[in-house]
Symmetry: C2
DNA sequence: CTCTTTCATCGTAAAACTGCGATAATCTCC
DNA sequence: GGAGATTATCGCAGTTTTACGATGAAAGAG
């Protein structure tokens, strides 16, 4: 029950192009919000786990971090509220997946600095 | 006394290449710290002013933001502590300049996500 | 030297963040 | 139905952030 538990959950091709402006007041606030979301080592670590698809289920993520389950759950919520990840319920478990669109948007905003 | 007040302060060619790893625990903390620094709209706005070289002197930056002088000064300190900007004393004024190396590093870290 | 300008720093208050244990909610299995 | 597993949420401390006005410190003007 360890391998491939939910390896095939989040599967969105997602090749859409984001045409929103890369600067201006709205872009500033968007960048600030996204940056704030990844402004904590634990959340960066979670993002990397999801990118590598090393972990996906909440419990596995908890096992990878030196934090209590409730704390990890909160960090996941921050990332979800920022739109960077998405949680899909899989029975009693929850599989968290990247939201590639938003991650690309973040990259574009930072690159546009 | 408005045009070109300190347009030619920070002038570093700076073409050095950063060879530090883009992932791992240290990179995670570095990315988190940098992201946290730009995790506020006012600081994003300040960064943009410096990129565009629209403003440079502290007072001009204060004029561009809807915040008190002391608050802007604090935001400048956050950016400076993160290494993203540098302050050069120019008489009674202080000219803030980007630290292109660190900005590039941030871009690389985000791109490496 | 004194006054003004410019900026940083100091307090302070309100809000937000971080972490945890305890508890609730939901699903599966029996 | 109940028991166990998994995750979210609540409540609580301690810390940090954000904002401001007031005060200091440093440089230039007179």
């Amino acid at each position: 029950m360890k391998e491939g538990t939910a390896a095939d959950c989040c599967s969105a091709p997602d090749t859409a192009v984001d045409l929103r402006p890369i600067e201006g007041r709205e872009a500033d606030e968007e960048l600030a919000a996204l940056a704030k979301a990844i402004g904590h080592p634990a959340r960066v670590q979670i993002l990397r786990l999801l990118v590598r698809r090393t972990a996906c289920v909440c419990g596995d993520i908890v096992d990878e971090l030196p934090l209590a389950q409730s704390t990890v759950s909160q960090h996941l919520k921050v990332l979800k509220d920022a739109g960077l990840i998405r949680g899909e319920v899989d029975g009693p478990r929850v599989c968290y997946c990247l939201e590639p669109r938003v991650l690309r948007r973040l990259r574009a905003l930072v690159a546009g600095l």
